[in-house]
Subunit: 561 residues, 2 copies
């Protein structure tokens, strides 16, 4: 990471200005993280992970690039988490390997952060600051009020950040549900209050900006679940996100209504339910739950099995059931399966494969194509318009989305009565300067993609990913030459992997001959091992392409004995 | 491929029965191919390719397994193609490398098949038999009438196959469009005629069985295109399937209305338009088209660029434009882009990435989320119900779909007034026996996945695919040992690819030491090279997993000098 040199730094310091620096959350959905810097003090909003796409083979997830924070360590005063989803808190343990700052969040969000530290302990002892909706806190030059919002996890909040220059509102992830399961409606009054007294900048969730209308209320799920439970002939297996506590509450409520017991499968599901129950975010009688090891003791018509797997994740409960590898649950013909979540783009095919397998095994499967089987946690166009209309920000910056979402959100802002005087679609790494009168892209920090594989943080550029992709599409060829005192000790040895057999058979003798003649020539010319390696790689690459139209990854070893 | 031994073959021959053998088209969408065998004569319906999923890295496409056909070569009397889509005719050139049978199809479909042979010539000279809707032909014990159906390519037909035992109807791919672009409406009268006189078995397209209602008419596109053209500020770039001649006709018509010229980019698009025009399936004035090399000569507001790329295919026109690598078209800020096709499951992320890039470059992009930007070529639930209701088959077999589509179609059949007395959801390779009174799964042929890479047909099992997948997720390690007369000539040489740097650094010295000690021990024990290789691989695999929790592909070479 490098900050562009800025000769005007000294002059700039005299001007009263705020810097907004998104380190994630833009360009693609995930790894949300935004810095707000004012009077040399920084607050961090969220610190999440991003799940990889198929273009990043073997990667578990991606975290934001913390370099800018490490360089400005002393200025960081707080990390505020808006809610407990992985794309907002998942990277906190990685940050806390290097930095320790006070953590501000609502009760449930804090509990989830603490449970993350149990798996990956922080270096120092974290300082937890529990915050409450409609209450204000003071952090350096910032006075921050937390405002209740609805989302697909309990205890989500937006932030109203007051400064000498004006108020910044960050929406967090939100929708406006007038009949939410947890009875806590998005606090429109407070947003309107701030709107009335003037908001300088609004950063708002763009996830569903392309969707028309209003996202449906969680309440519609109640009827849908009732219908499915009414018609179920045997066990009911429900897959949902383990963080969707309100959905889990609805499943528990319905199970109770039908006198079914619930067996919980999977660590994350069990953990989240335990946390939510202990803090009263989830309410159920203890005897509702039965041990997944003992489900055989209950009549099938009296059982619900709850687990993860809505995205077709290879190790999830639902995937294991569909492959017949679940330790406790083997699917039976009359089982009903309910997949209550939307499919994250890129996962469609995996989910469809599982649906097909489950159906083939004879189960009744209720999934995305079913009406009202799921509602989104993010507000659609009408809700975004409503928020913009009551907040009436001077400047607007859509966040939490791919470019197309941000753009659609910017277009919505253009349509409201008192539209923002300026909207900026930013990129991750932009340094945006905010004054009383202006909002502009001023500079940027260079960010890297930080890949995480197997809980281990790799300082990886894209080289490994590119290697894997090449091998994936073209195969790999290893060429070994054994040399002693400038002479070949034996014919070159070739190994290929990931090649189609026919091509290989056709190509190998040719390539082998080519390597032999090239190597002998180069040795005679007294080239060094390093030179031979480089030249041979280049020659072979075009030779192979000419012969079999493939560009495998080529690795040449010169072994001296 | 092996046919199960059947001791009753002799007795069976006396019973008058038809065999239906689907070699493709079920379980997943693609490689459609169905055999109908009666009185020792076989007709083939369609012979298509399937596009690979992300689980088949590097593969271009998949074709049906022809083994059963090769074993029954002499019985094959005809190959009938219902329409000219790749998943129905794409594998014909591969079949014709081994078999030559008369090809029956409508005019446009035949023309497309002929153009395929230009790229990949058949062994013998094919015999082409042009067929016509409402006309019957006789092939051995089959009398076949071709019935006009609407689809997303012109000249599609269904088949009514009359035999001594009764009539089989195969729907081909169809929808019912009452105002199609080419004025040829699905011939409901003929389906109803057959229904009235009695249909023994109906095989019907299930692609949209999960979708409610009626697929919209192609006619709605006219208004949508008119709106987009009306508002366009500069060039209009349209991406569609090169086979969707009716859609292309609508684009041409709209361009003509707005006095815009059309430049065609891409070989397949140019070829299909040339064929369609020469046979009058596409009508436009010659001066509508301008050379893609000469677009600079025309005002931007007077240009349309037409190409492929609706699925985010890496080499397509739209992908190249989005990456700035198109030879003739570099995107400009006010360009409008129209992607008029639905996204095939599995391609969502690729398409979204392209949409984001194009928008980021400043273009107005109209794609799937836009209302009426595309209509499907397949009938939805109501159309499938309509067909079943007028055909009233005794037996029913849903085809052309994944399991979930076939199941949804079977459920539709259960809901009509005169429902089939039996519905079978079959698998590829099933041998289904049809008599006057019964329809049942009788036997099966084992089928392999036949992968094609770079136009070359590989006799591939899943080994290559699995190798690629392992490397993709776990990386690969090459270990080379140079041996002379039972002694190591130098320390073992290790190379890894696709490993995360950190892991590699940590692991390599350890592994190197382990290889050295193991190899020395094995050499001392006089193990052969083969034995050392096998043992070392096994040892290393568990050693590496224990140390870094990865299971790379391991390749061990013992080089003797």
């Amino acid at each position: 990471m490098k900050t562009k040199k800025n000769k005007k730094t000294r002059i700039d310091k005299k001007i009263d200005k705020i810097e907004i620096i998104p380190l994630g959350g833009l360009e693609s959905i995930g790894k949300n993280m935004t810095l707000i810097k004012y009077k040399e003090e920084i607050i961090i909003i969220d610190c999440g992970i991003m799940f990889p796409t198929t273009e990043m083979p073997g990667i578990d997830f991606i975290i934001p690039d913390f370099s800018y924070l490490l360089e400005n360590k002393k200025k960081i005063k707080a990390l505020i988490a808006t809610h407990g989803h992985e794309d907002h808190i998942g990277a906190i343990p990685f940050l806390f390997e290097q930095i320790n700052v006070p953590l501000y969040a609502t009760k449930f969000t804090l509990a989830l952060i603490k449970s993350k530290f149990e798996e990956k302990p922080p270096r120092g002892k974290p300082i937890y600051k529990e915050v409450h909706p409609r209450k204000k806190i003071k952090i350096g030059p910032f006075s921050i009020e937390f405002i209740r919002v609805n989302h697909s996890i309990p205890d989500g909040v937006a932030l109203a950040i007051e400064t000498d220059l004006g108020t910044i509102i960050h929406s967090g992830d939100f929708k406006i549900d007038f009949s939410p399961v947890d009875k806590e409606v998005t606090d429109l009054k407070r947003f309107a209050d701030y709107g009335e007294s003037g908001v300088l900048l609004f950063l708002s969730d763009s996830t569903n900006a392309e969707k028309e209308g209003f996202t449906k209320s969680e309440a519609i799920l109640e009827k849908k679940l009732f219908d499915i439970f009414s018609n179920a002939k045997s066990r009911i297996i429900v897959a949902t996100f383990s963080s969707n506590i309100n959905r889990i509450q609805q499943i528990f409520d319905t199970a109770q209504k039908f006198n079914r017991k619930v067996a919980i499968s999977g660590m994350s599901m069990q953990k989240n339910i335990r946390i939510a129950k202990s803090l009263s975010y989830l309410n159920f009688k203890d005897d509702l739950i039965v041990d997944i090891n003992k489900i055989e003791a209950y009549p099938k018509k009296k059982l619900v099995i709850l687990g993860t797997g809505t995205q077709g994740e290879p190790l999830s409960v639902l995937t294991r059931i569909s492959k017949g590898t679940h330790k406790h649950v083997s699917l039976e013909v009359k089982d009903s399966i309910v997949i209550t979540a939307s499919v994250i783009p890129g996962n469609e095919k995996m989910v469809i494969n599982i649906v097909n397998s489950l159906m083939k095994m004879g189960a009744d499967v209720f999934y995305a194509k079913e009406k009202d089987i799921h509602v989104s946690g993010h507000g659609a166009a009408k809700e975004l318009k409503l928020m913009l209309s009551i907040i009436k920000p001077k400047f607007f910056m859509p966040v939490h989305g791919e470019f197309k979402h941000l753009k659609a959100h910017a277009e919505i802002a253009e349509k409201i009565q008192e539209k923002p005087s300026k909207t900026i679609i930013a990129n991750n790494g932009d340094i945006l300067e905010l004054t009383k009168d202006n909002f502009r892209k001023k500079d940027y920090v260079n960010l890297s993609q930080i890949y995480v594989e197997g809980q281990e943080l790799g300082d990886i550029n894209n080289k490994v990913i590119n290697e894997r992709r090449t091998i994936l599409n073209e195969g790999i060829m290893f060429v070994t030459i054994v040399v002693s005192e400038g002479l070949l000790l034996r014919e070159p040895h070739l190994v290929t992997k990931g090649f189609i057999e026919d091509k290989k058979m056709k190509a190998l003798p040719l390539i082998s001959k080519e390597v032999l003649s090239q190597a002998e020539k180069m040795l005679k010319d007294n080239l060094t091992s390093q030179e031979i390696e480089t030249h041979l790689k280049k020659r072979l690459s075009s030779f192979i392409y000419k012969n079999i139209q493939k560009r495998p990854l080529i690795s040449v070893q010169i072994l001296e004995v």
